[in-house]
Amino acid sequence: TQHNTRGLPQGRQPENRKHAVIGFLLTLPFPVRPTHTPTSFLVMAVFTQHGSIRRNMASDRAASQATRFDFLVIGGGSGGLAGARRASELGAATAVIESHKLGGTCVNVGCVPKKVMWNAAVHAEYLHDHSDYGFDTGNVRFSWETLKAKRDAYVSHLNRIYRNNLDKAKIQTIQGHARFTNDPEPTVEVDGRKYTAPHILIATGGLPSVLSDAEIPGANLGITSDGFFELETLPKRTVIVGAGYIAVEMAGILSTLGSKTSLIIRQTGVLRNFDSLISANCTKELQNTGIDLWKNSQVKSVCKSEKGLEVTIVTKDPEKKNDEEKTSTIQEVDCLLWAIGRQPNISGLNIGGVDTDERGHIIVDEFQNTSRPGIYAVGDVCGKALLTPVAIAAGRKLAHRLFEGKKDSKLDYSCIPTVVFSHPPIGTVGLTEEEAIKSRGKENVKIYKTSFTPMYHAITSRKSQCIMKLVCVGKEEKVVGLHMQGLGCDEMLQGFSVAIKMGATKADFDKTIAIHPTSSEEFVTMR
């Protein structure tokens, strides 16, 4: 569920340049829409196949070189597109600059293709259970190639939908890499042409972090989650490095689909910023499902042999001070995947005048304002809650603030629900137990927990548990956190997150009538 966009150089050329051409043919005059900014100019609109743009016909020479919009969005991913479309609906002349495919991380190398792969893996799990439910499926083989072709076709379909949506909204799409110029008024340059607007939104997203060969010899023999979506065949032997949700999801998918998978983590558990119950349970489930987990381990070097990659790993348990560091090698690896984090996608953007943090994330206030007036940022590039729906909501809220005069329009970043598509999936919203204790004091925190075998597994030989936890605070037992892992948890969370955002208490959970037989009913019958 991460999101980013690719407004910037990645060494890849857009595959489809058809739409990249901006026509300047003066065909018919287009009615000028009201401008929402003090910097209005006498403008003449031109109408192209893909939407309207305005050209500044004023006499100011410097400005006349730049094409002027009301709203300029850098990055055609979830946040940028949502903001652009909403702004356009509200009457703003809008353009989106995108260097790669429309849809950003979510559509191209994130949520969507990831969940397609997860669905395929869920079928693999079902196939184990078929005979218990009476179906004789005999021999079953898996074709990664078939799946990849279908997945790619679906993603292309979505790219086209995004393109159509922009066209329908009369939003100009500018294909290429954006770079801020040094003009006094915020201006960007794409392929030698200048564009400006009183409001410029940076929504360039993020990228998987990579290690250099200097840090780990042979590191660049590995791929990242981006490369995962380019794999043409199912790797026989996979090594994944990382303990975050991307590592967990990739390991789950590859292992379930039949790749022998090792997961290398630096400490003893995965998902360490999740609630400890989830972290411990997910670590256990990974091992239960056959993933070879290397705790307290780090990759030291990677080299290439005739039979594939050799990944050398050092393991040292910090608790056992006297133990020697152990060095081992995993041989014949055909897929080494780094899932060690994500970083903001800002290189080449030349955002000198905009403040960033030490990792390069653009610093914004609660209204998505950057340190430079007229420049805003939403989504992964800000480094906070790297989720598609967050970027979408933030982009839309911003559009309402800028173009509808809704001064208070901003996204509330509290109680954002998230799902990890692990096996089984994880759902979480609000505070972890540890966070609640830290902020409210142990004496004010009450925990409700349950674990059970979902009814689905009542008649299967393969089993997995469902675990659930409610974190409540204060006398009224306000529910501030809900955490779960188990079959169906992905679809369970959304409704509960509405109630928790409304300020639900444990008593509200108790008052709710159960839906039987489901797993989610356990939340309303918990004692």
Partner: protein, 511 residues
């Protein structure tokens, strides 16, 4: 109850705060005698701790076909539990087709073996029967395999299978005998040759080509899972499907079933059932629209024409317990009391009560606490969510659109809706025309939600949390202010933004 229906390890947790401060009830054998060991009865008797002496009587009259089962009532034995497990099996029928699109090469043909499935289902049901026995023991509730009837307002007569009588006296009596499927006794051959859902879940052999008569949720669920495991299945509908549910949603459910392969004989009524020498059942029916008569043969005929309260053996009339003349159900006050002092009833047998396990459980627990003087809290029967486990699941809470219109006026409600495509349907190339969300709100003011409806995969799991939001009084803006979870089906509920009034296309495009 839900807890009960899970893994066996759950039993261990229940020996909680039992303090043996039992003060004997003086003139009665028991503080509480519960007649009926189903969801409500078990919940009530197990909750009735607080130093009380409690007995629960349970006895299953075999069906016409001779089917019988153990402790736990309809839900465990012939309802929710086996139904959902077989529904799960049927979903696998679809999953197998989907799996091929997801790159799995599966050799054809794939056959489904009824006996294998039923062995698993019945083993699970038996483990639950056993679990209930153990739980009663843990809670020191006396379990009696007696058929109970009322002698007076403090006395119950128990009859064993062998015909031995036992008299029990109790301060309070709770009747929780539930209901059983009805047979249309006016149709020749119906009883002799037909089965009901009470038999369905204990059939040793596949029912084969089946005619399901009725269009209640029971009928549609049974027809759905039979179709899903590959059986030729027809539903015969007299008037409308899913009466009482939102009719637009009901239409989507049956439309999906039709594309799924279930046949429907709309506006038809069966006339007679004859057994042919081949063993096949020949059904004759009338098409009420054309008046024409039709015939076909089936291996099984399943009557799902409604359920009747199980009151006949209780001797209610002698005591003057007031029944609803039309339904035969017991008339109850808000505290579950009947017209006779000390006698209470709850669950499916109660007039106007939802025929649902969770409401019976909750009502049973609350009644037990009130009878023990521990609480005055009454059961709230509003805001009851439910899910129909048809091939395309349908979950809802609150009012149907029709009911909302009736109560508030068409111009005073706003219906937000969306036709969405589950991501799992895309690669599988499945038609998602019936995947739909409808949020019925008040049109003015804060747009309080009046009803919420969802068809799609995992509807039960999706709906529970929203039911809680609904219970908390959620408005449309509470939904839209909640950040979605991407990519899920449930997120479409918080994303709905097209109103019916607008007339705009409600199809969701893109993320």
């Amino acid at each position: 109850m839900a807890a009960l229906c899970r893994g066996r390890h759950r039993w261990k947790k229940t020996n909680c705060l039992y303090v043996p401060t039992r003060n004997l009830t003086g003139k009665y054998d028991y503080d509480l005698v519960v007649i009926g060991g189903g969801s409500g009865g078990l919940a009530c008797s197990k909750e009735a701790q607080f130093g009380q002496k409690v007995a629960v009587l349970d006895y299953v009259d075999p069906t016409v076909k001779g089917t019988k089962w153990g402790l736990g009532g309809t839900c465990v034995n012939v309802g929710c539990i086996p139904k959902k497990l077989i529904h799960q099996a049927a979903l696998f029928g679809t999953a197998l087709k989907d799996a091929k699109k997801y790159g799995w090469q599966i050799s054809e043909p794939v056959c489904h073996d009824w006996a294998t499935m039923m062995e698993g289902v019945q083993n699970h049901v038996r483990s639950l029967n056993w679990g209930h026995r153990v739980q009663l023991q843990d809670k020191k509730v006396k379990y009696l395999n007696f058929k109970g009837s009322l002698v007076d307002e403090h006395t119950v007569k128990g009859l064993t299978k062998a015909g031995k009588e036992t008299i029990l006296t109790a301060k309070n009596i709770v009747i929780v005998t539930g209901g059983r499927p009805k047979y249309p006794t006016n149709i020749p051959g119906a009883v002799e040759h037909g089965i009901t859902s009470d038999d369905m879940f204990w059939l040793k052999k596949s029912p084969g080509k089946t005619l399901v008569v009725g269009a209640s949720y029971v009928a549609l669920e049974c027809a759905g899972f039979l179709t899903g495991i590959g059986l030729d299945t027809t539903v015969m509908v007299r008037s409308i499907a899913l009466r009482g549910f939102d009719q637009q949603m009901a239409g989507l459910v049956t439309d999906y079933m039709e594309t799924y392969g279930t046949k429907f004989a709309w506006k038809c009524v069966p006339k007679r059932v004859d057994k042919l020498s081949s063993g096949a059942l020949q059904v004759t029916w009338t098409d009420t629209q054309t008046g024409g008569e039709h015939q076909d043969t089936y291996d099984s005929v399943l009557w799902a024409v409604g359920r009747a309260p199980e009151t006949k053996a209780l001797g209610l009339d002698k005591l003057g317990v007031k029944l609803n003349q039309e339904t035969g159900k017991i008339v109850l006050a808000t505290d579950e009391s009947t017209s006779v002092p000390n006698i209470y009833a709850l669950g499916d047998i109660g007039e106007g009560r939802p025929e649902l396990t969770p409401t019976a459980i909750k009502a049973g627990k609350l009644l037990a606490r009130r009878l023990a003087g521990q609480s005055a809290e009454l059961m709230n029967y509003d805001n009851v969510p439910t899910t129909v486990f048809t091939p395309l699941e349908y979950g809802c809470v609150g009012l149907s659109e029709e009911e909302a219109e009736k109560r508030h006026g068409k111009d005073n409600i706003e219906v937000y809706h969306a036709f969405y495509k589950p991501l799992e349907f895309t690669v599988a190339e499945r038609d998602a025309s019936q995947c739909y969300i409808k949020v019925v709100c008040k049109r003015f003011g804060d747009q309080t939600i009046l009803g919420l409806h969802f068809t799609g995969p995992n509807a039960g799991e999706v709906m529970q949390g929203f039911a809680m939001g609904f219970q908390c009084g959620a408005t449309y803006s509470h939904l839209s202010q909640t950040v979605g979870i991407h990519p899920t089906c449930a997120e479409e509920v918080v994303k709905v933004n097209i109103t019916k009034h607008s007339g705009l296309d409600a199809t969701v495009t893109g993320c």
